[in-house]
């Protein structure tokens, strides 16, 4: 097993797009960790560092300048929002992916291991959850819970576990009849023991790949909800929310809106690169794991 992982790591570092994704991800991690140094909150803002400081009273966006390198949108400093928004993006992505993957693993492995009517019921429930378009389900649940980033995360978790459940179920069904599982059963290992100690470690790798690929799309969905005004509160450092400010300038001002390019370009680029990083890493891992799908 150890050797296998080493071989995979070697392959990963031979793949330029994977390495590029990793570099991007490390860059974002550094920005997130050192956010208080890169964009220090004002003393008045010390206790709520995630709120973007109001820097002007004029409602018009202001182009990048020395004090505000990314410009000003809705009276707030875009640079500050983009830097602290990195933390928001990581938080949303890691929590939602982590928790929904765990739920999926739980439901999928129970379904596969026990089979029979338990499997039937759990899989029909999965089908029903899959039949509600994800974005719409997320919109509805977020509003019902009462808007806010934590509500966005809960909504995405509730409707985000099904892919993992199906994937792990299929994998376990294949592995269930293998000799090592039968052997473990024969020497009397308990059911949770078999699932956690034997089945999951041998079937989990595709789930991890899927999780890393999902990370990007989840951050996008969260941004969409913020963009629709359901997510982050006014002034919170969140890329989707900052992009929402820009919408008014795009729709309103015919022939003038290019003047306000910075209201879209900076937060938009941050988001694209963040998603790209996760997708490149997930893609490379998948190539290594399943060379048939290599593109």
């Amino acid at each position: 097993m150890d050797k296998e992982y080493k071989r995979m790591l070697k392959k990963f570092f031979k793949n330029p797009s994977g390495v590029f994704g990793l570099v991007l991800l490390i860059f974002f991690t550094i920005v997130a960790i050192f956010a208080p140094i890169i964009a220090p909150p004002q003393p008045s803002n010390q206790y709520e560092p995630y709120m973007m400081p109001i820097v002007t009273w004029s409602p018009d966006p202001q182009p990048p300048s020395k004090e505000h390198p990314f410009g000003v949108s809705e009276r707030r400093d875009i640079f500050y929002g983009v830097v602290w928004g990195t933390r928001t993006a990581f938080r949303i992505g890691l929590i939602v992916t982590g928790v929904s993957t765990l739920i999926g693993l739980f439901i999928g492995s129970i379904s596969a291991y026990y089979g029979g009517w338990i499997d039937e019921i759990l899989m029909r429930i999965t089908d029903i959850f899959l039949s509600i378009p994800f974005l719409i389900a997320a919109i509805v649940l977020t509003t019902l819970l009462g808007t806010g980033l934590d509500k966005v995360m809960i909504a995405m978790i509730v409707f985000g576990w099904m892919g993992t459940a199906r994937l792990i179920r299929g994998n376990i069904l294949q592995a269930k009849e293998e000799q090592y599982v039968l052997a473990a059963k024969a020497i009397g290992v308990s059911t949770p023991g078999i699932i956690i100690r034997h089945l999951l470690p041998n079937t989990i790798f595709p789930v991890l790949i899927q999780a890393s690929m999902r990370m990007g799309s989840l951050v996008i969905t969260a941004a969409i909800l913020s963009f629709l005004g359901l997510g982050a509160p006014q002034g919170y450092s969140d890329w989707g929310a900052i992009l929402n400010y820009a919408r008014n300038w795009m729709l309103g001002a015919h022939g003038e809106a290019l003047k306000y390019w910075y209201t879209i370009v900076f937060p938009g680029t941050a988001m694209v690169l963040f998603v790209l990083a996760w997708n490149l890493i997930g893609d490379t891992l998948r190539d290594i794991f399943d060379p048939r799908l290599r593109i």
């Binding site: 039949s131 719409i136 919109i139 509805v140 509003t143 019902l144 963009f227 694209v272 790209l276 593109i295």
Partner: protein
């Protein structure tokens, strides 16, 4: 296969039952007080005494248990009554009837460039494996897939509307809307742009198309990336197969080999993702309609959700889920037709 289709169709109401039960159940988290706001003006509600509030709750059955209320809702659905839409200020069914054509039109038109260009790019990349064109298309695919649709939509608005002034947001221009809503305008197919042509209103037709270009471009961009990746990898696999080598060996020209022998077989895995695409196109309309200020069923459900207008949301969910389930069924059937090795049982 007929038996399979019938069984799947029979399952459809069951799935819809489950979906509506979940969504309806979710709305009950609001509690009777908030649910009451769907019936009476909130300003008025503040002046009401607690007893009067209770009376209203009883009147609208808000104090009944969940099952009773769900039963009432579903029996009125069977009568064709989806309730009153706060957002549309008319019955939900009428509000939806007005908006669905714009969304369907968008999704249908988007399907043409998405499928056509996506597959074409994928085949082009696979045939020129490891050439500069291939590398370029691959980079396009991965960057495109990472580009959130609403960010892309904002860029499209910025360039094509703000700078060039070509493709404005909205459904259609004001003057076109006047013609569209006038009694003389006959609604034949339901699709606004096609109806405009059938009515001989060529200018309205062009106006509709102008408003569609931006949203279609936005939807296509994302799905090109997705589709071309799958086409490319499937095509690469097929091109290595023995029957392709045989076709080449017997002296067929390259175009016949690619188009007749390789591409057809490479399409089989592509159809499997068509399901994901239907879901994606549908969900895509929600966000694209919001970005481009279009009134359609997608923006309708988004606005309804933010205003806790649950009758409208339930209607929208019903619409989207039905399409989704039917779409998946059609894809399964297509899959069996394309690949006769697959038996539907």
């Amino acid at each position: 296969m007929t038996a399979y289709i019938i069984r799947r169709l029979l399952l459809l109401p069951l799935v819809l039952f489950g979906i509506t039960l979940i969504v309806f159940g979710l709305f009950q988290m609001l509690g009777p007080d908030k649910l009451l706001s769907a019936y009476i003006n909130p300003n008025l509600a503040e002046k009401l005494s607690p007893e009067e509030m209770e009376k209203f709750k009883d009147k609208y059955g808000l104090n009944d248990p969940l099952i009773v209320r769900y039963g009432k809702w579903i029996s009125s659905v069977f009568k064709g009554d989806l309730g009153w839409s706060l957002v549309g200020k008319e019955p939900v069914l009428d509000a939806m009837k007005k908006r669905i054509p714009f969304t369907v039109e968008l999704a249908l038109y988007a399907l043409i460039p998405v499928v056509g260009v996506g597959i074409w790019l994928g085949v082009a990349a696979a045939v020129r494996h490891n050439s500069p064109i291939d590398h370029f298309i691959r980079i396009f695919a991965i960057v495109g897939w990472s580009f959130p649709d609403f960010v892309f939509g904002l860029f499209v608005l910025m360039i094509f509307y703000s700078v060039l002034g070509w493709f404005p947001p909205g459904n259609m221009s004001l003057w076109a809307e006047e013609i569209f809503k006038s009694p003389a305008f006959k609604h034949i197919t339901g699709l606004p742009s096609i109806d405009a042509l059938l009515n001989g209103q060529f200018r309205v037709f062009v106006d509709c198309l102008r408003h569609l270009v931006g949203p279609i471009l936005t939807i296509s961009w994302l799905w090109w990336a997705y589709l071309l990746r799958i086409t490319r990898s499937s095509m690469l696999e097929v091109l290595r197969k023995d029957y392709v080598r045989t076709a080449r060996a017997k002296g067929l020209d390259e175009r016949t080999v690619i188009n007749k022998h390789a591409r057809r077989n490479a399409m089989i895995p592509v159809t499997t993702v068509a399901g994901a695409m239907v879901i994606g196109l549908l969900s895509g309309t929600v966000i694209v309609e919001a970005v481009f200020n279009r009134t359609g069923i997608g923006s309708f459900i988004a606005t309804a959700a933010t205003q806790l207008d649950y009758a409208s949301v339930m209607g929208g969910v019903l619409f989207y889920s039905t399409i989704l389930v039917l779409g998946n069924l059609i894809i399964d059937i297509l899959y069996a037709i394309i690949d006769p090795r697959i038996r539907l049982t």
